[in-house]
Symmetry: C2
Subunit: 188 residues, 2 copies
């Protein structure tokens, strides 16, 4: 089975709808970086847009502002330790990809690398809103391509069956929840 | 045990950090309403701020713009059916509180009612950013008071133990995930 398939853009919001923690990857020129972000959400369905908080002190912020692009990578539970690490270190001090053995593959529409082993990927172009970027560290992006591991997301739906890799939700201090059991409710 | 205790404002972001679906309650004059929102996130630690998408077609939007206030209520799994309902109907057509037997209690700092049976509550004042409200339906709020059910959140931490009520994460079409197992990772 392929490890990634394209996700229809009108369904891309569903990759983020349940609130997983993401890894933000970025590149500009020869420089690249990755950081963790617990604060992201969908913003619109079609064309799909997302919002994410990127602190002004980060190396990622510099690369995103310089390139106008970034990717949101949705890590599996197996990647939780790496997520914690890349959320604690600065790309100014080390090459996080090398330090943690993180493999990447090329995105289709943007220069930022995508992380191997994730469950979903959203390639984004910054929607320039300088005021909220400067005041709140809040970045808006249009999703220009999206991908998912078909073991976890297929036909526009997550399917975290027993034994399949699951997405994660950051709490604080190295603690996460994994995505739990699915359930369906009917309208009354 | 009391069903709610105050949450220290510097810890309020943790109520939303793991990405639960929320119910947005609002009031203006004699009117009140509640709707579901899958798209919300923390925006800052202290003073705590949050971001939430409130569609321009909703009755909630009118009440939030008129009052400058809203609350984010974090429903438990037991409230998933009500969450789906109040996310599917318009407060222009019916009184959703009455229609679904939703009980409320008074907030401390704002006029919007808070929903009984939820796990956490964030009382918010709109941070006026008309451009992003108009362009993206994106609202920023400062959290001015926060509360949690101590069975689920105590001392600044969620504790979804076996048998305790859990928060929920909306997918699409009446499908949710519940918040799953907690786990901790160490830095390498």
């Amino acid at each position: 089975m392929p490890t990634r398939l394209p996700v229809e853009l009108s369904k891309a919001y569903r990759l983020l709808n349940h609130g997983p923690t993401v890894l933000v990857s970025s590149a500009h020129g020869d420089a690249k970086n990755v950081m963790a972000a617990a604060w992201s959400m969908p913003l619109d369905f079609s064309p799909p847009k997302i919002a994410v908080v990127i602190d002004r002190a980060t190396r990622t912020r510099e690369l995103v502002e310089a390139s106008g692009e970034f990717a949101l990578n949705i890590p599996s539970r197996e990647m939780a330790q790496a997520a914690l690490q890349v959320g604690s270190e600065s790309g100014r001090d080390i090459d996080k990809f090398r330090a943690h053995g993180l493999m990447t593959f090329a995105a289709e529409k943007i220069a930022a690398p995508l992380l191997e082993g994730c469950l979903g990927w959203l390639e984004c172009r910054v929607i320039a809103e300088p005021h909220i970027q400067n005041c709140y560290d809040l970045f808006l992006g249009e999703v220009v391509a999206a991908w998912a591991d078909p073991r976890a997301f297929k036909g526009g739906h997550w399917s975290f069956e027993e034994g399949c890799p699951r997405s994660i939700h950051y709490i604080a201090g190295g603690n996460f929840f994994e995505t739990g059991a699915a359930f369906e409710v009917d309208k009354m």
